[in-house]
Symmetry: C2
Subunit: 318 residues, 2 copies
Amino acid sequence: MKDVVAGIDIGGTNIIYGLVDKSGNVIAEGRLKTAEYPDIKDYVSAQHTAIKEMLAMNPGHNLIGMGVGAPNANYHKGTIELAPNLSWKGIVPIAGYLGEKFNIRVFITNDANAAAMGEMIFGGAKGMKDFIVLTLGTGLGSGIAVNGNVVYGSTGFAGELGHTIIVPGGRECGCGRKGCYETYASASGLVRTVLNLLSEMRLESNLRDLPPSELTSKKIVEEAEKGDRIALAAIDYTAEMLAFGIINAITFSSPEAVFLFGGLVKAGELLLAPVRKYVDQNVMPIFRGTVKILPSSVSESNAAVLGAAALAWNELKN
Amino acid sequence: MKDVVAGIDIGGTNIIYGLVDKSGNVIAEGRLKTAEYPDIKDYVSAQHTAIKEMLAMNPGHNLIGMGVGAPNANYHKGTIELAPNLSWKGIVPIAGYLGEKFNIRVFITNDANAAAMGEMIFGGAKGMKDFIVLTLGTGLGSGIAVNGNVVYGSTGFAGELGHTIIVPGGRECGCGRKGCYETYASASGLVRTVLNLLSEMRLESNLRDLPPSELTSKKIVEEAEKGDRIALAAIDYTAEMLAFGIINAITFSSPEAVFLFGGLVKAGELLLAPVRKYVDQNVMPIFRGTVKILPSSVSESNAAVLGAAALAWNELKN
C-alpha cells in the first residue's frame, strides 16, 4: 500500500479533487460542480463517495490525510468564512466535517497559500525558506513563506497582498476600497489598463473593436504578440505596477524568489522581462539583485490539487 | 551564580551595554563613545575590558551569551555591512570578533529587530506570535514577528518597512528613492509635514518663528498640546500616513498588534487616537478590529540594551 493524500480545490464553479503521493504524482483527479451542493452536508457526502470510488478504482493506495484550498479559508480554525462566491453562508467548519466523515486529518487554507505550499513541496521553491507566490487571475492572490512556513498571521487570513493599497484613491476594488494592488496587477487589472489607455492615447488598435465586456487578458496578450501598441503599453504598465507591489513586499520579508502563477503569466517574457527590469530599477538598494522573479514551475492544470495536497503532506510531516 | 547575558546597542554616537537577567532586569549599564574606536579591534578590546569590569563590580553573575543591536546588522552572517553612520567600513564580522574575545555565543541584528525581540521577551508582545514593532525616530525602523520568530528573510535584512514606498514620486528619502514610508511617518517626517503645511496653509503658528533647521518633533508636539493648528494638522496627517503603512503591513502578516516605539510616541493619544481611527477606517474589511495599536511597553531608557539582550536569551533558549 502506498500512502496518498487527497487534495481538494474548492472554487465558485468547480470542486477539483485528486489523490497525490508524497512525490507530487497525481494518481487520479475528479471534479464536482459546486452549484449542485448548496448544503455543505450534501457536499461532504458527495465528496466522500467520490473519493472512496477513486480509491476503489486505484487500488493499492492508503488515504492518510486531506488538504483543502478554498476562498476565505481560515487555516487556524478549519473554516470557510463568509465566502462571497460560495453558497455555503456564514462560518462553515468544513475541515471538521470532512475529517469526521473520512476519519482522517484535514487541513485547509486559501488557494494562494495552497499554491505557495505546492511551490515549496513540489515546485521551484523546494529548499527555499523565504519566498512569495503571486497568483495573477481575476484578482491577485498571494502566499508568503517566511522561514520555511506559510504565513497565516493571528487571524489565519494573512497574505492578502492583492489588497495592499498601491495607489491611494485609485481604482475601485471589490473589497470596497480604492487603489488595491490587484486592481492593477492581475488579468482584470490589465483589461482595466487597456480601457484607460484607449481613453488616453490616440493609437490605433484592434482592441478598439471589441466591447469592453468581451476584452480579456488572453486577447490583449495575443494582440501584444502581434505588435499592438496599446496592448504592449498596457502590459508594460501592468509589469511596472506588479513590480511596485513586489518591491514593497521585499522590504517586508526579503524573499529569495517571487513566483508568478496564473493565466497572466502565459504572456511569458513579454511580462516577466519588464517586471524584472522595474524591480531592479526601483527596489531598495540593499535588496538589489537578491530576489529572483520566476514563473511558477507547478503546472497550472493540476496546481490547485497539488497545492492542497502539499498542505496536507507538509502538515503530516510535522 | 545567576546567569546573565550582555546586551549591546551600537549607535553612531554611543555604544550602550548592560547585563540583563532572564527576567529582563538590567543589572548594570555602561556606555562607550563610538567615535573613540575607529578600529573595530580596539572596540572589541575596550568592550571586553568594560564588561569584565562590570561583572567584577556585580559579583555573582555568570555571562552566558551576548546580543548586539546595530545598524545594517546581518543576523545570518553576524556582520555589520556598509553601515553609513559607523566608521567601521565594509563588512565587519563583529559577532565573530566578540565571540572569540569573550568565548561565548554572540548574536546580532538591527536595532528595530532587537526592539521586536525586547517586546516579545520582556514587553507587551509576551505570548504573541504575530506582531510588528515600528520605531519612530529620525527614520522608521521595523521589527516583524511571524509565528513567534523575528523575520530576517533570505538576506538577513528583512523588516525594512520604513522603505516601502507609500507615495510614488513623493518625498526624497535617504535611501536614494522617493516616497518611502519613513519620509512621512517618523519624527523627521513630522517636521517635513509642518514645513509643507506652513507653505500650504495661512494659519498663524509659533512654528513660523523657528528656522526649519531647528524644528523638532518634540517642539511640534509641545505646540500641538498648546492647540497650535498647524502642529495639530501635521500630527493628524502623520497619523494618517502611519496608519496607511500599517494597513498595508496588515495584509501581509495579519499581526495581533502593532507596537509603536520611539520619541514620536511621546505625543501619546494625540498621535495614537488618530492612528487607530485611520487604521479602522481604511484597513481591509476582513482585518477590521483584529489589530491592536499600542505604545511599546519597554521603557525607552533601556530598550536598546533589553532588546539586544532579548535576542540573546531567545537564541540561547533554542
